[in-house]
């Protein structure tokens, strides 16, 4: 490990972050203190370390004082560790000789009202980081190749779009669909509200193009049963649900487009007690006809009611707290269209969220066509009763302060978008986390909505959150771009902050295998006795294994026991100032 044995020459840079940090922490004082610490040859404070000016400063000082360790005391490493690692690297240092202290989230933001104590805490953290920095070691920067094939999981509108884009861009696609048909929910919908097209009109051309594209391999009635490997080199076992036959494939990237499922609202508004109470999805699946007919007796529908937010926007009800986004616009369009043949159409709502392009027009059109909109109270839901097949609904109209009742021929419930029933399986398979709405978490909710914390695995469409089909299509192309980006580069860097098993110390107890949340550890059967080994590209460096190992046979690179204990030491017994300075 060359370059890290020599005498540490540490540079400390304390960031003001505008007034985010400097407004609470006395940054000059912190830098002052740092300059006296052992091994520190330079320390200063700066307005924005992440700005170009700040980055240039680091490089200049590395050259000027020929620093071999850099500590930046600023914000959470989550955002800027990559930035500063790159900076020290550009200045000729190994990226792992950099350490970051979080003075913003961990100090200034949470101790705003007690600046003195905050400054003391800041000093402690910097002192600990400097001590650790002295112990930091070079780590190799590793790259892995990326296989030029993407596996797309889910053959709905998003999966089809992503597959086609990738194929047209010149890469191979393995498209997995668990049902026997491509097209997902959209294909089922004879009328794709809020548009004028039928689901088939939208999906047929897509399916046709996907089917005839020679770069796309389609596996229907199939599910991924095993998933291993790492970014660029995933191993997949696909099981045919009919034949139960399994087949292995190697892919470089993955796009998960497993979509959603329309919530079946049993327990809401007497759903299930009458065939004339159906969900918006079920309405969209009815075979189109001049006149909407009652499912129960096939008679024409004269009066109907839509109810919004069914199984959505319910605080405290797990998996049903989110807004399902597409329903308001879909309902407005459905109501407007059906009003032509139905004498009375009511929409019972909480808020009207016709946010999208042209959606406000659907809402206006519905009203223009005499659809009656009635807002019901937040915590006083309409009551639906079924007596001898006859539907009655009673509710309070908030805006007219009137108690109302109505006897519709059918009631349509605009129900929530929820994840498919096998979502848990999928999330384990690809190590994806899920948010409160039950859908998969993106890597970053604002700036990385399509990538996930599993490198090489993308999400798109309703797999990520409730969305309408158009939005899913945009996601799909976006996720395709991410996959192609990786494949076009051909290789990708991987983290070196991984765990390592020292074979001599391993007692083959398998504890680490069960401890690892990423199935990154397996047994090397070629050894006798078999010993554990880490697949580095899969390891997230969480350290669970190292902690679990009863024979301390596992090292966490970049968080070695030594590196951690010196921090504890630095905190408990601060080095006397005298010792500091140059």
């Amino acid at each position: 490990m060359s370059g890290s044995e020599e005498e540490p020459r540490i540079g400390v840079f304390v960031c003001h972050c505008g007034h985010n940090i400097a407004g609470t922490v006395n940054v000059e004082e912190v830098a002052q203190m740092a300059s006296k610490l052992p091994g520190v040859v330079f320390a200063t404070d700066e307005m924005f370390m992440c700005s170009d000016a700040g980055q240039v400063l680091i490089k200049d000082k590395i050259a000027e004082h020929n620093l071999n360790r850099v500590v930046v005391a600023s914000c959470s490493p989550r955002m800027h560790e990559p930035t500063f690692r790159r900076v020290v690297e550009e200045a000729g240092l190994n990226r792992y000789l950099f350490d970051q202290v979080n003075l913003r989230e961990h100090v200034s933001w949470c101790h705003m009202r007690e600046p003195e104590k905050a400054t003391e805490k800041a000093k402690d953290l910097v002192r600990m980081s400097v001590a650790r920095a002295a112990k930091l070691q070079n780590l190799p920067v590793k790259k892995v190749s990326v296989l030029p094939t993407t596996m797309v999981v889910g053959g709905g509108i998003a999966g089809l779009r992503a597959s086609l884009d990738i194929a047209e861009r010149g890469f191979d696609v393995l498209l997995i669909e668990k049902t026997s048909k491509l097209g997902g929910n959209v294909a089922k919908w004879t009328h794709l509200f809020p548009t004028d097209e039928s689901g088939a009109d939208i999906i047929k051309p897509l399916i046709r193009d996907v089917k005839k594209h020679n770069r796309i391999t389609i596996l229907t009635d199939s599910k991924v049963s095993e998933f291993d490997g790492y970014i660029g080199n995933f191993g997949v076992t696909v099981k045919n649900l009919k034949t139960q036959k399994e087949q292995r494939y190697e892919v470089g990237t993955v796009i998960v487009t497993t979509g959603f499922e329309p919530f079946k609202p049993f327990g809401y508004y007497s759903y299930g007690e009458s065939p004339d109470i159906l969900t918006l999805a079920e309405l969209q699946e009815l075979t189109p006809s001049e006149q909407l007919l009652k499912p129960s007796d096939g008679k024409p529908v004269k009066k109907m009611v839509f109810i919004g937010c069914v199984g959505s926007r319910l605080p405290g009800v797990k998996g049903h707290e989110h807004c399902s986004r597409h329903c308001c616009s879909a309902t407005a369009k459905a109501a407007a269209d059906l009003r032509d043949s139905v004498e009375e159409v009511l929409v019972l709502y909480q808020d009207i969220r016709t946010y999208g392009k042209g959606h406000e027009e659907f809402h206006r059109m519905a009203r223009q066509k005499h659809v009656i909109y009635s807002k019901f109270p937040q915590n006083e839901f309409p009551q639906v009763t079924v007596k001898k097949g006859k539907l009655t609904i009673t509710w309070r109209d908030v805006l007219a302060a009137e108690d109302l009742s109505f006897e519709p021929d059918i009631i349509v419930l605009a129900t929530a978008m929820i994840p498919p029933e096998d979502v848990e399986e999928t999330s384990h398979l690809f190590s994806l986390t899920r948010s409160g709405d039950g859908f998969f978490n993106p890597e970053h909710i604002k700036l990385a909505p399509l990538t996930t914390h599993t490198a090489g695995v993308m999400i798109a469409g309703a797999a990520q959150a409730a969305k309408n089909a158009s939005e899913a299509v945009i996601d799909a192309s976006g996720a395709a771009a991410k996959a192609v980006g990786l494949m076009a580069q051909g290789e990708v860097e991987i983290e070196s902050t991984v765990s390592h098993v020292i074979p001599e110390l391993c007692s083959s107890c398998h504890t680490c295998l069960t401890a690892c949340p990423y199935t990154a550890i397996s047994m090397d059967e070629t050894k006798d006795p078999p010993v554990a080994f880490v697949t580095e590209a899969k390891c997230h460096g969480c350290g669970t294994c190292a902690a679990a190992c009863p024979s301390s046979a596992i090292v966490m690179y970049h968080s070695t026991d030594d590196q951690i204990l010196t921090m504890v030491e630095a905190f408990l017994c601060p080095a006397p100032e005298a010792q500091g300075g140059s």
Partner: protein, 432 residues
């Protein structure tokens, strides 16, 4: 077939444009990123926090900024505008006007000595005119590229900056330059502007000092902003104890020619309401709305939290009038709580208007140059909401972000990536 131009032009350096540029560049294609202001970053750079996670906007944006500026395949062209466009998919010729910056990009290190010595102070557009900047300036601390710019209109040619610049980077005789780019594809990411709310005299913006708009509020609560993040009234510097947020101004207004929903106002106002309470938990914060449109991932949950945990008060009713006490400059909002049918006069120290989103200025000429259509609302027309949500009627020309309609950040980012995908298909097939 003969390989044609294998590079792309992205117009607009906001978050959508940056994302598009990155996703094209990461596939190994050359990208020219043209931005008319002195720095990339767009509107997002002006925001304080972002909904629904309250991430610090500048903090999550900065890595993108440096990623773009350092990408070997991306050439930044700031202070630049698109001129004439000729050719077709796979083979466009685009004239770019590179406005004189009066500072040599190859020499300036962004040290700031010039700014420190500049005697001229002018209203800072980045801070919505609340704060000041010098006549030689960088738009914001993380401005990218971090190169200074001379604002000739306000510069007095005193020559001090020229003297102090150790690298002799300042050249007051610089002239506009014109370059012609050969590109295979063009992505329009020209973003949005805010509706001019002085068109609502009844709400008092421009007449009453303590009626401000949301972007001004963002700068006021921003630690790097003109007040160092201290939320104060512009009339007397007092901390507002009661704040009212007014929704649907310049949005969902048929009479004002903006019939559509702006998509972001509900959430940014809820976010700002929460931030106001973060700054002063004792404050009273009200939001006046017609419908709360919290439709994105985590939005409804955030709205719920704003109500239950932070105690933001929501009143369903559009505000008819804002009145001012002449001496105190305190404000009174007149509204009907439509849920209780009560007409309410509610006093506030500060009123924040949420302006709707409109197409960015120059959209019309941009559309003409490219030969693409616009919607009635002035945004760029997309070919089909399912088959081509980022596709325009001109092959090889794509659109993303708010250029084709209001979008929040994640939707703009996705669209940026999507447009990039379409663009690279063109590039890899040489325009077919």
């Amino acid at each position: 077939m003969t390989k044609k131009a294998s590079s792309a032009l992205v117009v607009g350096g906001g978050v959508a444009g940056m994302q598009a540029a990155l996703d094209i560049a990461n596939q190994g294609f050359k990208v020219y990123l043209v931005e008319r202001s002195p720095s990339i970053g767009g509107r997002m750079a002006m925001l304080d926090k972002t909904f629904p996670t309250l991430d610090c906007s500048a903090c999550i944006l900065t890595p993108k900024l440096s990623e773009v500026s350092r990408h070997p395949n991306i050439q930044l062209m700031t202070l630049s505008e698109v001129g004439s466009v000729t050719g077709s998919a796979g083979d466009f010729k685009v004239k770019i006007r590179r406005k004189a910056r009066y500072v040599r990009e190859d020499l300036c290190s962004g040290c700031g000595d010039c700014e420190a010595n500049c005697p001229v102070e002018v209203a800072n557009e980045f801070d919505q005119g609340i704060g000041f900047r010098k006549a030689i300036y960088a738009l914001f601390p993380q401005a990218t590229p971090h190169i200074y710019t001379v604002d000739k209109e306000n510069c007095t040619d005193c020559g001090r900056c020229v003297k102090v610049c150790e690298r002799n980077a300042i050249d007051m005789n610089m002239k506009d330059k014109f370059v012609t780019l050969d590109v295979g594809t063009i992505i329009v990411a020209t973003g949005f502007e805010l509706f001019d709310i002085t068109q609502y005299p009844r709400l008092g913006y421009g007449q009453y000092p303590n009626v401000i708009h949301a972007m001004e509020f963002e700068r006021l609560i921003n630690a790097a902003g003109p007040t160092h993040g201290h939320l104060v009234r512009l009339s007397d510097g007092k901390k507002p104890k009661s704040i009212g947020f007014i929704q649907c101004v310049g949005a969902r207004d048929v009479q004002k020619g903006v019939p559509y929903c702006s998509r972001v106002c509900c959430m940014y106002s809820i976010k700002n309401a929460v931030m106001a309470l973060e700054h002063d938990p004792q404050a009273e914060v009200w939001v006046y709305y017609a419908d709360i449109r919290a439709f994105g991932k985590g939005f409804e949950e955030f709205y719920e939290m704003a109500k239950s945990r932070f105690g933001v008060r929501f009143v369903r009713g559009r505000v008819a009038e804002v009145m001012e006490g002449k001496a105190s400059h305190d404000l009174v909002v007149k509204v009907e709580d439509t849920v209780t049918s009560k007409v309410r006069l509610i006093e506030h120290d500060l009123v924040v208007i949420s302006p709707g989103v409109i197409p960015s200025s120059g959209m019309d000429t941009m559309a003409k140059k490219l030969g693409i259509d616009q919607t009635d609302d002035g945004y760029i027309e997309i070919s089909h909401s399912f088959f081509g949500p980022t596709v325009t009627k001109i092959p090889g020309v794509f659109v993303c972000g708010c250029a084709d309609g209001p979008k929040d950040i994640p939707d703009s980012v996705s669209a940026g990536s999507a447009a990039a995908m379409k663009a690279t298909i063109i590039l890899s097939s040489g325009g077919k």
